[in-house]
Symmetry: C2
């Protein structure tokens, strides 16, 4: 018995194209074309003619292509002179894939998402038979995609992991660990085919396993996105996602090129979303045009479901009137502890540093810039046009400490104590200090008001109840009235951030 | 100048099908076919032949179809006798649509999602020219979909709103109010084309405006899903979503039929998801097979982003170890107030009834069944196989009041007071009462443990801090450790529930 589900692939074919002016469909033209080919003893494969436009394409063996063009040129000599026939020429180096598929359209959108656009495509629905013609350089990739669909094989998603610091390496481990369950449950086969740091890059088209870091150690490729793009093309890889777990300002400049080259993007890196509003919007236009997606749920609140929630509320017409909260894990820890313990500010700060909550130079946290960036990202989700420079940031670093080099600063942490002790003492009773980001004002205007400041709140309020290094976000909207939606939990940390990035990867994979 | 973007539509065509055994592609066969048609003076339109399978289809005018079949039968008389040619026949009543499209594949998936599968489909990529042949009964719908794509016109999404009680009518208003912004920003045109209650149903293929309720008032159609399906077919409506804002046990029986008829589903109605696990899973298989989606974010926690968050965490391999919280707005109000005020339980209960927080018969709240249903829905998101009967529910209704009729029960609310006063008094200091749902146990097993019970918690805990009629959900996972993700806010109410349903509609519309 013939296996109906086999994918037939015929290589070394040529397309003979015949283009005329509004005369195809005239009685007899088709007859003359095929008679001429018959006399030349040329076997014809796929035929495609369109009634509403002018063009007929037939497929022949590559070895017959010159002969076919010549015999048609002879047959239609008069029509060519009169201009009725414009062009007769061949397109070489193509392959035909023939298969039987019920959900043919699904296959086509999978192919398109992977930048494969068949040169010719014939389908006869009643038998579910399909022929597509593609350039030989894409035939294997096309075959893989079609096989995945018709045999309901797991769809392979190819991941390029850029950055393998804390978040990146935990994510790679999480993906390797969950891959089998996801393959079984969702028919999605996640393969990590590239890992890069700022210097080196390593590829494996079959997918890395737990020894990826050894492979990277001995890698000799310089880290370079052009190599990644070339690697994906040479190996005809479908369903590409590049995952940015760096904090690199350079790498984000490659986003546009990657989207244009067929990659979706997932990023824990906040930098792109805090560039100028024009760069922010230009990239959205590219994504839209190329039908590519860019997800970054972890830019604010790590794995907490913040950005997606705000996006949907905003789009459904819910009037978001204010977003306020403690956005930073390190500053959460510092003020949660400083507010209730009888310790010097510098003591608490050193604790936070020892526990790895702060950046190596804690001024990056104390400057308020990280909170400001997160606030800006949320504002832009509401279609506000704010720039980073619009944000009112209360820096916690006194002027005399701002310009020291890092080690001098670390030697003089005590200089912070008097100021913060005074702020603490000047609060009302049962109040605590919190470093909050606050997006408010009339958010129907072009720009909102963005403040990063140290405030004093009642200890029994939601903000005042915050513990450990948790983040909290209060989303005020018209329908929810005075009681906001509150989302709270670990808003930083490698594990939860990696899990959030993984969530974005799955969101993309499920819609592929 | 010719407008390249025009969609040409040719009606009254027939497909002539010619099927043989492995001999197409032989030199001369095509020549004989077209010679025979030429002699019969039949003009040929679209031609489609496939190399890897046996079949050639040509398009002719419907008036020529009989003649075409006969002349081919004559030409291939010998081959028919020998069995080399199996069949020659015509398919009448088809239309050709010809157009130029860059993202042709997008168009095809749009067509497929709308149950349009072209009978013949020819594409020549270099010129982006496409021909599709469809049955005449689908040609207008196909044209609309193609136009929306190639002119980047807003894509129309057709909504059928079932139920126009509190949530349903607020949702209709929200959709009408936001439609223009969504059309401009997202190129999605939301049209409400059907509104139904349990008795009547009204249709408007152009979309209802604010006067929908007047239209329903004078409607004469009996509410019936077969009519809805027929209406969608007769009017060739694409992108169909049925929205269930009823609490009907009957209507959920129609879900499978609707999915099979091309509708996606959005539901605030919890009933389907609490049927037996086999019905629950059978429906998921149908959805999967038909490539349809079913979203129900508002089943638990109204507009709070709970179900989507749990889904993604679970799928990304995050080990969810416990979900616990106050799931019911009415019971939240009752115990938040009873715990801190010096009032009788019945007094607080009456307040809750007066403010519209409870069902007309408050025993439906006090029974714990509503909380139990929500708990079951969350458990099933984690792939647990629990049934409703597996849930340990602590009912708050004493036996002697359980079987009274409603009015007798309402006359005897005082009988509740002694018991709850005792429970309140027996707490530790600074503790408060909360009615919680708790999913725990080893959630890697087939079933988890589901408890609905009244517990006493410290007043300064997250649960203890709950205010008003807010809901709170604590999601404990391996990565988040001892500090859960907390999602809190209004978990009931028409406005926020409607906004959550709207969010689901947008999730579906964006992926269409």
């Amino acid at each position: 018995m013939k296996n109906n589900n086999e994918i037939k692939i015929l290589k070394h074919k040529s397309i003979i194209k015949f283009e005329g002016k509004d005369f195809l469909g005239e009685v007899g033209i088709d007859g003359r074309i095929f008679k001429a080919l018959t006399y030349a003893r040329i076997s014809v494969g796929v035929i495609s003619q369109q009634s509403a436009e002018n063009g007929l394409s037939v497929l022949v063996n590559e070895s017959d292509s010159e002969k076919a063009v010549n015999c048609l040129i002879n047959e239609f000599e008069n029509e060519r002179k009169s201009g009725k026939v414009n062009q007769i020429f061949s397109v070489n180096n193509v392959s035909v894939l023939g298969f039987v598929a019920k959900d043919f359209n699904k296959i086509l959108s999978e192919l398109a998402r992977n930048n494969i656009f068949p040169l010719i495509l014939n389908q006869v629905a009643s038998e579910n038979k399909v022929n597509i013609v593609v350039t030989s350089s894409q035939d294997q990739k096309a075959k893989n995609i079609i096989e995945a669909e018709i045999f309901a094989k797991p769809k392979t998603v190819h991941l390029a992991m850029i950055g393998h610091g804390k978040v990146g390496s935990v994510l790679i481990d999480q993906v390797l660990k969950s891959a089998e369950v996801i393959r079984n449950r969702k028919k999605i086969d996640l393969k990590i085919v590239a890992v890069a740091n700022s210097r080196k890059m390593v590829f494996n088209k079959y997918g890395f396993d737990e020894s990826w870091s050894d492979d990277l150690l001995v890698a000799e490729n310089v880290s370079n996105m052009d190599s990644l793009i070339k690697f994906s093309q040479v190996n005809q890889l479908e369903n590409l996602i590049v995952v940015d777990n760096t904090a690199s300002t350079d790498f984000v400049k490659k986003y546009t090129l990657l989207a244009e080259s067929g990659f979706d993007l997932v990023s824990s890196n906040k930098i792109f979303n805090t560039l100028s509003i024009s760069e922010y919007r230009d990239f959205r236009h590219v994504l839209n045009k190329k039908n590519k997606k860019y997800l970054y749920e972890t830019n604010v609140g790590a794995g907490l479901p913040l950005i997606d929630t705000i996006k949907l509320l905003h789009l459904s017409g819910e009037n978001i009137t204010r977003i306020k909260g403690v956005f930073s894990g390190s500053l959460s820890y510092i003020f949660n502890n400083f507010s209730v313990r009888v310790e010097k500010f510098s003591t608490i700060l050193k604790e936070a540093m020892e526990q790895g909550f702060t950046e190596p130079d804690p001024r990056e946290d104390l400057s308020g810039n990280d909170v400001a960036r997160k606030l800006l990202i949320l504002a832009r989700e509401l279609d506000l046009s704010n720039e980073f420079t619009d944000i009112n940031i209360e820096s916690l670093i006194p002027n005399q400490l701002a310009h020291l080099d890092k080690n001098d600063f670390l030697d003089n942490l005590d200089d912070l104590d008097a100021h913060f002790e005074e702020v603490k003492e000047n609060q009302k009773e049962n109040h605590v200090l919190r470093l909050v980001g606050d997006l408010h004002g009339d958010l129907q205007q072009e720009k909102g008001e963005l403040d990063v400041q140290l405030i004093s709140v009642p200890a029994n309020s939601a903000l005042g109840q915050l513990k450990g290094s948790d983040s909290i976000f209060e989303i005020y909207t018209e329908s929810y009235g005075e009681n906001p939606i509150v989302i709270m939990g670990a808003g930083a940390g490698a594990k939860v951030t990696a899990r959030g990035v993984f969530g974005d990867i799955l969101r993309l994979s499920e819609n592929k």
